[in-house]
């Protein structure tokens, strides 16, 4: 049903380029995916892919520190970057007459980052990232959930065992040599996808891309992902952890290994996740929140990961005096009961996904990001246009097979948070 126009090219140095035109609004998005994420980190280097992403904003040979932000903000643009398990993305959305500025900035740090690196910049960004970890993980109720869950769902030998933010020790130990080696290994045109989406002239854009990125030398072949990617399809048992922490309410999380995004079986997992937890008519909301009232809120999502397995995760937050065992039993019953899914439930899940996807691609930045993703993960950027059809093709029988194969007790990680007694409400009293 979607018909997003996408033209694809490859430069001589291996950089994959996608152009997707839409002149509705005079803005243009520049989006770069590098095929490197936390899965590429070696022992003792956790969190480095993300720290490196911060260093990419510290300037390059022709762009002094802070200048990248100054130029884009001055142009009336927005910009950011994110690091994830399987990739790191960088993006700018700018008024369309500033397309070349964004391309120049991205190309300068792809080709000429290292001459600008200094110990002072690294020290500064290590502090920033450690404060990011404190703010988003350590000083947040339940903020360490993904550390627990990833370690429970994936074995120590697998690269998804550790989190994207990594450990404080490893972040602190990062050196300039690490920066140089990581850059030369992974930040090469043959490990990147560039998507330009929005209001631009096709020939002019191609010419600018060739001019700015064409002379960047390709790197070596990308090294294999460290660790052992071979995984059993399921965890093989119920594994559980109980955490007493300074949290206001009990919360039970359940996570499951599911087929990776690159496997055809992923779509049944995605639909199952929506039937369970998307919207007020979803099973978990209806049962745990509306009817049984053991939870004040429920959440479900499916992580579209590509290396060995993905992950389906649900959680339910209880009331102050709630019993975590009761919440766990209620969650487990809904997970297993999903084998009886109806056509109507799938129809609802697809309709909500359809609206969400169309709303997402209203923004050229989001659209560009999806095009880059489909290129990086599937070598097929135009796959975006068929995504809804793949979801619509899922049948109740597919979901039942998925549920019996993946959502049972032999593939379950259960993490329970219980409120600890508050240490000391009065200062000076230990």
């Amino acid at each position: 049903m979607l018909s997003i126009p996408i033209e694809r090219f490859t430069l001589d140095n291996g950089l994959r380029v996608n152009l997707s035109h839409d002149a509705t609004t005079p803005v243009v998005a520049v989006n770069l995916w590098y095929g490197v994420g936390s899965r590429n980190e070696r022992e003792g280097k956790t969190g480095f892919a993300h720290l490196f992403e911060h260093m990419m904003f510290q300037g390059s040979e022709h762009v002094p520190k802070n200048r990248h932000f100054e130029l884009i903000e001055r142009a009336g643009g927005s910009l950011n970057a994110t690091t994830w398990f399987d990739r790191t993305n960088y993006f700018e959305t700018v008024p369309s007459h500033h397309l070349e500025l964004a391309l120049w900035l991205e190309s300068d740090r792809m080709g000429w980052m290292l001459p600008a690196m200094t110990q002072g910049k690294l020290d500064n960004q290590r502090d920033v990232v450690m404060n990011e970890k404190r703010q988003r993980y350590d000083n947040q109720p339940y903020g360490d959930w993904d550390e627990w869950i990833q370690a429970m769902v994936f074995p120590e030998s697998h690269p998804y065992h550790h989190t994207v933010i990594g450990s404080m020790e490893d972040i602190e130990a990062a050196t300039l040599e690490d920066v140089a080696e990581f850059f030369q290994t992974y930040y090469v045109p043959n490990n990147a996808v560039l998507t330009v989406c929005g209001d631009f002239g096709r020939d002019e854009a191609l010419d600018l891309i060739e001019r700015h990125f064409g002379e960047i030398a390709p790197g070596e072949e990308i090294p294999a992902i460290p660790g052992d990617l071979n995984l059993d399809p399921t965890i093989g048992a119920t594994v559980r952890e109980r955490v007493e922490a300074e949290v206001p309410l009990p919360r039970v999380l359940m996570a499951y290994r599911v087929p990776p995004y690159t496997d055809a079986g992923f779509y049944a997992a995605d639909i199952a996740g929506s039937v369970l937890g998307t919207g007020r008519a979803s099973r978990l909301y209806r049962s745990l929140v509306r009817e049984r009232r053991v939870a004040k809120d429920v959440t479900s999502f499916v992580l579209p990961l590509t290396s060995g397995a993905g992950m389906l995760l649900v959680w339910a937050t209880g009331f102050p005096d709630g019993d975590p065992c009761e919440i766990e039993a209620a969650l487990a019953a809904e997970m297993e009961g999903l084998s009886s899914v109806t056509d109507q439930e799938i129809k609802r899940a697809v309709a909500l996904t359809e609206t969400a996807l169309v709303r997402q691609i209203e923004q050229v930045g989001q659209r560009a990001d999806l095009v880059s993703m489909f290129d990086q993960f599937f070598d097929d950027p135009a796959r975006l246009n068929g995504e809804l059809e793949r979801l619509r093709a899922v049948t109740p029988a597919d979901v039942s097979a998925f549920v019996s194969g993946f959502l049972g007790a032999e593939n379950r990680a259960v993490l329970t948070y219980v409120p600890a007694t508050v240490k000391s409400a009065t200062p000076g009293v230990a």
Partner: protein, 463 residues
């Protein structure tokens, strides 16, 4: 490309003009205003009903009533139970979104354009015929109480709650948390919800915004069909007297034992949405803490590494909302961060922004305007703002020109007039055992230490 040409930033190409899309204005006989905009890039549409039903209408004893009434709309209608209502909406791909603020309640949904008729019918049913069954109201009240309990233990919630309470005099709504307290939410029941709907969910003072792949010529009859029978005069709209609690500088630490970071809030009473300095203030705030390259962020993050980020905001409302700088910093650098932030604020007010900074801020704000108007939801929210704040329909036509016309003198004057360094209250949510001494070392007088419960709950107390 040669080395020499790479060393200079490329110049911009020819500018393409951007116009805010035309807004078609209409009004039903019952007073309901209609605003529609055709955006045909994708087959999607957003319908947003704005009700003059914000929390600022309520006194402290009923705080949270607007939020809870909005939440309880999902409990069902005269025709459908809550479950049936959710089914009906979600089967057409339309999740209902209810947002309650100080100045309004908005009930909105987005869906594929060919389902708009059904969607607007359901939107009308939710707002005009809510049922508020006992059982559902009780459930949703329980969820709200649990959420209040969560807020009271959340580092961000603790610091923000204390900051607002210390900013405003007792009895000013903006000094309390939006969703109310355990005490004010306790008595909420179906009668309270129905009473609030009768008083404030009225066609006069409300507006329905429809944006997307739809012919504006057809919107009126669609709205008339579903909202034509709605009756009632204008609801209450009392003025807000947003008086400050204090005009003196102070530092308060809200203690959290062993906190690994301090949540910092610095601020005082700010400005109303109607301020004539609105555009100049946007420029000033961008320079201070409204962009990545703002003075505060470049100092606290990019120079000192104290924080992941810091920002400054004027929260403009019908009355004078707060001006607030917020950040989270490492416990050991808390006093250093406060000193640097206060120094940046004081310098900006004393010397004003530079001409270069004003230029850059104007270019940034004018440039990002179209970036924030890509989706039907973003456009609808912008138009809803016009309805809530009584701004003219063509307000956005010269929005960018008005940003660009802010002068250096106006920016300096706005900074001096709207930021008062001697009246700032600094709130630090963190480990008092670690931060009190260093904060006292700043030499700004006594540092008051409070237990978190004093600010989390006790705002209803009359002290």
């Amino acid at each position: 490309m040669s080395e020499s040409s790479r060393s200079v930033a490329p110049s911009a190409g020819p500018v393409r003009s951007f116009d805010f899309p035309p807004v078609h204005a209409d009004v039903l006989d019952n007073g309901l205003r209609i605003r529609s905009v055709q955006v045909g890039r994708l087959p999607v549409v957003t319908a947003m009903l704005v009700l003059d039903a914000g929390e600022a209408l309520l006194d402290d004893s009923r705080a949270g009533t607007a939020v809870l009434t909005g939440d309880c709309l999902e409990g069902g209608t005269a025709k459908r139970s809550g479950v049936e209502l959710a089914e009906a909406l979600e089967t057409i791909g339309a999740g209902l979104s209810i947002g309650t603020g100080w100045d309004s309640t908005t009930v909105s949904l987005s869906c594929m354009a060919d389902r708009l008729d059904d969607a607007i019918g359901l939107l009308a049913e939710v707002v005009l015929q809510p049922a508020f069954p006992d059982d559902e109201v009780e459930r949703i009240r329980g969820q709200r109480l649990a959420a209040i309990h969560q807020r009271e233990m959340d580092p961000v919630g603790i610091a923000t709650t204390a900051s607002r309470r210390l900013t405003y005099r007792d009895g000013v709504p903006y000094g309390r948390p939006l969703g109310g307290s355990v005490e004010s939410v306790g008595p909420f029941n179906p009668t309270a919800a129905a009473g609030f709907v009768v008083a404030q969910y009225r066609p006069k003072g409300s507006g329905l915004v429809v944006v997307g792949d739809v012919d504006p010529g057809q919107v009126r009859s669609l709205v008339e069909t579903h909202f034509g029978e709605w009756t009632g005069g204008t609801g209450l709209r009392p003025g807000i007297d947003a008086e400050a609690r204090t005009h003196e500088r102070g530092i308060v630490v809200v203690h959290r034992a062993d906190a690994v970071q301090s949540e910092i809030r610095i601020g005082h009473v700010g400005q109303a949405r109607s301020t004539p300095l609105y555009f100049a203030l946007r420029v000033v705030n961008t320079v201070l803490g409204g962009a990545f390259t703002s003075r505060l962020n470049l100092n606290l993050r990019e120079e000192h590494g104290f924080t992941y980020g810091v920002r400054s905001r004027f929260l403009v409302r019908r009355g004078e909302g707060p001006w607030c700088v917020s950040t989270a910093v490492g416990t050991d650098v808390t006093a250093d961060a406060v000193r640097e932030a206060v120094s940046e604020i004081t310098t900006l007010v004393a010397d004003g922004p530079t001409a270069e900074e004003v230029d850059a801020a104007r270019d940034y704000l004018a440039g990002v305007f179209p970036l924030e108007l890509e989706t039907t939801g973003q456009i609808a929210a912008r138009i809803a703002e016009l309805l809530v704040y009584d701004l003219p329909d063509d307000y956005y036509a010269d929005y960018r020109d008005r940003i660009r016309s802010v002068t250096l003198e106006e920016a300096c004057e706005a900074a001096r007039g709207c930021i008062r360094p001697d009246e700032m209250t600094v709130v630090v949510g963190g480990d008092a055992d670690e931060v009190q001494g260093p904060l006292e070392g700043l030499g700004w007088g006594t540092v008051t230490v409070a237990r978190r419960s004093e600010y989390a709950r006790a705002w209803t107390d009359r002290q």
